[in-house]
């Protein structure tokens, strides 16, 4: 099946006082139709930049953008601003991390919802749009939806605002929904409500979702596929259970070891020695080599390609076969 989105050789650079910052260093990624793709990585790994590329809401200080983002046969990076704008809020929608600032404080919930609907379906009568907006609010678990249409954002709690954001995104029925850490700003029990809502919605939603998170447990629960980013590159991708169950890249393995998971107290806590890569560095070696416990001289000689690592899996490590064999032996005996 052809993927909905094919990203090839995507590079993003910005000019800073310290030199050229390489924000994305050549990304190759497919997003399957009706799949939920989790994107994980630490701060500075480029995961949010990747999402903003997909809607082309890029910061103004970029000095270089290259590569292609083919969305349903059209290269988004080659489009003019007007043509790109026709995709935003119609075929591509986004849920932002902070529901406090993503809604306009001067407009009611109803205005937000009706506006996105009439943008998607110009000519839809106002009362039809209002009816659908109320139904959407109910479907995301907002009680008294008809009354809430008249509320302003400041009158809603954080959880309610994020529900409104999700309702807005779903009303559009986008082919691609981008969710950038949609639960990070919420409290634990409210986060659980939103996650459970997203799980329910994935059954009725036909589009693809890119779910950006730093929470591996959440991604494991919600997503079909996983893409692990580090220092502006993708180091590993594949079906989520396989990637987390038997990681092919040492960075994925190290991240899982740091996760603490639900183990009880005991022993030392794991960390990854060293520091995250500097975006200004020019790179001609494996991005993770300076912190990798398996790095050998060959890892420092050239940038490893993202290559096949099992069915539907990719990893950017020249040693994954040997390391996987060793891990297998360790588990088997």
């Amino acid at each position: 099946m052809t993927p909905l989105v094919s990203i090839r050789r995507l590079k993003l650079e910005a000019t800073t006082a310290r030199g050229t910052a390489h924000i994305l260093r050549g990304i190759d990624l497919d997003i399957g139709k009706s799949r939920i793709l989790g994107v994980v990585g630490e701060s500075g790994s480029g995961k949010s930049s990747l999402a903003t590329c997909l809607v082309r809401l890029l910061p103004a200080n970029l000095s270089h953008v290259s590569g292609e983002i083919v969305f349903d046969g059209v290269d988004l990076l080659a489009l003019g601003e007007r043509a790109m704008n026709a995709y935003r809020g119609t075929r591509i929608a986004m849920i932002f991390q902070d529901p406090m600032t993503a809604l306009n404080p001067l407009f009611t919930v109803g205005t937000h919802l009706v506006d996105v609907l009439r943008r998607r379906h110009p000519g839809m009568p106002r009362d039809t749009a209002e009816g659908r907006a109320i139904a959407a609010l109910s479907s995301v678990g907002i009680a008294d939806a008809a009354l809430r249409m008249a509320s302003y954002p400041h009158q809603l709690s954080g959880g309610m605002r994020q529900r409104v954001m999700i309702a807005m995104a779903l009303l559009v029925e986008p082919d691609l929904l981008l969710a950038d850490e949609p639960t990070t700003a919420l409290d634990a029990t409210v986060e659980a409500q939103i996650v459970s809502l997203l799980e329910d919605l994935r059954r009725s939603f036909a589009g693809s979702i890119v779910f950006i998170s730093h929470h591996l447990g959440l991604v494991a629960q919600l997503c079909d596929d996983l893409c692990v980013m580090y220092g502006g590159t993708i180091v590993e991708s594949g079906p989520v259970d396989e990637v987390l169950g038997a990681p092919r890249h040492p960075y994925t393995r190290a991240l899982l070891d740091c996760e603490l998971d639900d183990e009880a107290a005991g022993g030392r806590l794991v960390s990854i020695p060293g520091e995250v890569p500097d975006p200004v560095d020019v790179r001609n070696a494996c991005v993770f080599a300076p912190r990798c416990m398996h790095a050998i001289d060959r890892c420092r000689e050239s940038v490893p390609a993202l290559r096949g690592a099992g069915p539907a899996r990719l990893a950017a490590c020249i040693r994954w076969e040997e390391l996987a064999a060793t891990a297998q032996q360790g588990n088997g005996t």
Binding site: H215, E259, D261, A264, A265, G266, R268, L269, I272
Partner: protein, 348 residues
Amino acid sequence: MSAVGPLQGARLSGERDAQRPSGASTSTASPGAALVELAGVSVVFDGRVRALDDVTLAIGKGEIVGLVGESGSGKSTLCRVIMGLTPPSSGTVKVGDRPVGEQLAQAPLAFRRRAQLLLQDAVASLSPRMTIGRTLEEPIAIHALPRAETLTQLAAILQRLGLSEDVLAKFPHQISGGQARRVGVARALLMRPEIIVADEPTAGLDVSVQGDLLNLLLDLQRELGLTYLLVSHNLNVIRRVTGRTAVMYLGQIVEEAATHDLFGRPAHPYSAALLSTNPAVDPRKRVQPIVLQGEIPSPVNPPSGCRFHTRCPVAQPRCSTDPPLLLPLDGQRHVRCHFPFSLDRRRH
């Protein structure tokens, strides 16, 4: 500021005790040796916001106690009460046998040395107009510490924390979040405190470095006999690091138990729901999350009876009228619920 001398009265010996389970040493502290004691503490703001309501908690010397709960549950107010930054409206707060208010009135500087706070936003807790060196040397004048000796100690602490001396010449905006955290820890340790109250010490840290900071806090606790109150949203951190945990909801402690027991089988329905919201990476370990309805009510007008009854999946008629007390259960834990263990977690 060049010689690295030993830290007097406190050996900082690195990897010693590496095999010892981190939480085990802390759960055995006898209640008789409490360093911090809160009895019936309430804090009312503006005469109507009950930020803390009848909080009773003892922290033994050398213990690591965790504090969990959602925003608005009173965690930060509890930290501020222990630090003497917010006076209790009623009840008593003691640190080391004497009320905090009395110590602050008689010898404020001595009390400030005794209890140190690690603030949640480490970068913002450092003055943007002072170099790290000036910030760290400021207490020498304020507390009239012997200068040469303290600077020698500071060098030893910096080395122990893995901070190079270059950092002293920098301003807060020139260092990383992880470095700012460690500067905060250095500033606290220089006072040789008895208790450190750490408000979200790993918030905003990447997972690859959070283990470093927690290992450091654990090493220091063992080497210096420190006592910690650790506030965190990260349940995995609480589970790994603390010996005992208190769960707060709407200004009250609803359950307090050995961390192992609490995570193994929470007694209060709110604890059960909160702990179930933490999805595990391993599908075999995943539990069905208990999804609560609604959101935490306003402390201005808290629900009658049990404060949790409006969201409790197993509430009974009695819960809406009859406020439960924080009572001992099985001699191991304290629970504020008429029907403990009524909400059990189910595995997938």
